[in-house]
Amino acid sequence: MSTYPGIVARIVLWTLHHLLAGDLGDEVVDELEHEYFDRAERGRRFVATVWLAGHLVAPSTWRLAFALRRRVDSLATARATRPSMRGHPAGIGAYFLDLQYSARSVLRRPGFAVLTLGTLAVGIGAASSVFGLAEAMLLRHLDVEDGDRLVRVFSVNPVRGLGWFGVSHPDYLELSARADLFEEASFYTSRSLDLSGEGVPERVEAVAVYRRYFQTLGTPATLGRRLEAFDHDPRSPATAVLSESFWDRRFGRDPGVIGRTVRLDGVPHTVIGVIADESAWPAGTQVWTPLRWGEVVPEDATDRSNRAWQMIARLRPGVAVDAASRQVGGLAEAIYARDGIDPREEATSALVVPLHSSEAGEGAGALFATLGAAVFLILLLACMNASGLLLIRSDVRARELSLRAALGAGRTRLAWTLFGECAVLAFLGGGLGLALGHYGLQSALRLAPPEITVLADVRLNAYVLLGALGVTLLATLLAGVLPAVRASRVPLARILKEGGARGGGTLGSSRLRRSMVVGELALALTLLVSAGLAVRGVQRQLASEPGFDAAGLLSFTVRLPEARYGDEALVEAYFQEATDRLVALPGVRSATIMSRLPLGAGGLSLGRSFVFDGALLPPDGPDFGAAWVEVDPDYFETLGIRPVEGRALAEPDRADAPPVAMVNERMAGLMSQDEPIVGRVIRTIDAEDPPRTVVGVLPDLQLNGVSRPQRIPAVFVPRAQSVRRSMAFLVRTGGDPAGTIPTVRSALTDLDPDVAIEQIRPLREAHAADLGGIQFLTVLFGAFGTFALVLAVSGIYGVVAYSMSQRSKEFAVRIAVGAQPSSLQVAAIRESAVLAGIGLAIGSVGAFGAGRVLENGMSGVATLETSTFVGIGSLLVAAVLLATWIPAARAAGVHPMAVLRAD
């Protein structure tokens, strides 16, 4: 992402340089370049780039371009004292005349126009849709005053593999005290709460915020008021702020909601205000509640390891994000270098990220670099195709062009005409592409996981339009320059003498045609293989065995409100009664309660580090250690798994029984390679946890979703030996699990209507939803791959077929002097095969590189598979050979005299 504005700026400067002629033009470009770097150095590279690119469309730039041309022309006239037909003719009028001419000649050949337009539309559409996505996820800031000054502060610890973590309260106090960097700061923490009181209870996305939260963001209240200092005082009544969409959905936009009481986790809260969604943070939040003093300060005052708080801040005007990030990083490093700090925290630092792109996460940059590279290749492919079509067209029009040249049109002006044609096509194609890209993306987004709320908000705005305009200009340059330059070098006399279009043309058997075929093949192979890899990777993920029978399982989670279930006995009674009622339902075979659902479907992802034989386990695993899963004895029966060694956890392993545990095969392998571990004792690094005897070993089953590592060490302990209010349920049904949802729901609502049932769905569906993110990418890559295939095959076919048809005269002569038609075909096919071979060789290198990039960027992507590679390669080669063979056969089959007479 970081080199992106630099490249764009360079392209803009290059274009401006060519647009603005003469020494004065150079001066202007120098000045603009200077000013761009000035602005960029102040840390606003993107803004500087937009500013610079704006000059391409500013009327003043174009007025200057024409004024400069007028000036250059008049200087030339003064020098040579003869009228000049060179260069672009005087004035804007002539330019439009040329453009009109270009438009007319485009329309005169609708078939050619449609083909070129379609090609460019696909390329520009793909590029602008990815730009739209990037705009929504990375560039658009909150709709508040000076939203670009809002940032998020994260802790990082590269040594421990912690990226973009929250901050602790003491860290917050020290970091936010930097008044030279931050104008205001605050923090928040997200939590789901059960909302009840009026209507059906439901789980809401809630955020508890520290003081001056909305003041830091600059978010106004659309109705009522924001949170104020006294709302954070534990002695004042509890208050809550709603989001506009939630107010709309649950309260039908009733202004009387202010002052009403809602119960959050059973605690009554007074609604004091409503906040517009566009200016609210974090996106998707439904309810904001104030953090009360007691909730934050006492227990966290000195604990730096409790990084529960997400810090936001408003930068002082003029402070760049990069600069603030360096300062804050240095400050954090200084804090953690102090004496008495846990040595594992030594590498801890902090960084500052623009608020609007902070939610997209650490990997977003890499993801967009990959997507950006893919669309750039498609754009390149599309431009190459359009360029090839324009070249063919200028071949066909060689006679017309040479006539115009003979009549006194300057070569530059001829080039301008062709370039203008390309510009007309590119801008029409750009408009079409923008529409295509926009609607394509909207439909692709329906596949996106609902958790990525920001994705739903891709829309056309000034930035996206500007991006599409930039892409279109780039496409015009890429596709139009080559044909324009070639046209200006038309060998006049030869063409007029030889008879125009049939005179061999510029594409006939030239190096240019060969390099176009090779280039297109290489690009297409790279793209298609990457798309193939992504698609195959997801297919394999979907097909992978979870280690148990996931069909027929229904999963959901509940959280008992603390206010009503403060007593452990009450919690235990609820879960006991709930399981009993579930098992009694018709169609239910078994039901069980656990802390964490398999397949990453929900629940608490707890982790612990263990000590075994004096060694730390897992030694270098994920930071949170081995997965810690609390289960009931019927877990094993419900999932349908048996221990591979020892026994399963059973009814007698109750709270008062000796502490026991089961481990999975992965964990067992870490503990000991050869000796049996059943009967051995394992304990967590927390000295207060009791040592546990390992009673059995379970087969590895898939605990995580697809985006996380699959084979993780795990320890299973009896749920009865630790009590929690948040638990997940698995219900094994006889048939379709979705069919039992209503009965399960009503059974639990009967038990306690205040407990909300969340994420209730068939386990398979939960798994599929988890795949949604990757699936979304796969659809994108699949679409790109299809575009690339269509573009490449049609482009290669067009260029090869055209050049073969150009050789009909040559074939006729050779047949007339005795050559065998079949040997001519073979020769032609051999030549194409060599080109295809070179293209494939270059493409393989590209595909290999792209494959490596993808492997790093996405989990679940396969390494380069021979079958994918061979399949795509042969398809492309077939297109080349078919494009050679059909016209060659036609050319060889025609009677030689017919061709020769036609001249």
């Binding site: 020494d23 004065l24 202007v28 120098d30 000045e31 603009l32 000013e35 004024a67 000036r71």
Partner: protein, 113 residues
Amino acid sequence: MISDIVKYGGTMSLGDLQQLTMLAVARLGDEAYGPAIRDELREVAGRKVTVPTVYVTLIRLEERGLVESNTAPAAGNRGGRPRRVFRLVPAGWKALDHARASLTRMWEGVVRP
């Protein structure tokens, strides 16, 4: 070309930005090159204009025969590239005088309510 002469002939009055630009050229003397003129317009006249706009104005003025330009040798600035320095010609001074005179005449008798 003929239409240009009619259009831009000396009888036509100066635009507001043209006047300010010419004054900036006059104030800057030997230093009257593009970026300096832009800065002068911003700092003294309070007019924020883009670099291309300044140059368009200068070229128009040159076309009307009100200013002329010469390439000044490279100085120590901006990588030491040669630059074009603008200068008022007598017709330019005349046009400025004319503009000021008409403005002064118009102000006579104006009473603020």
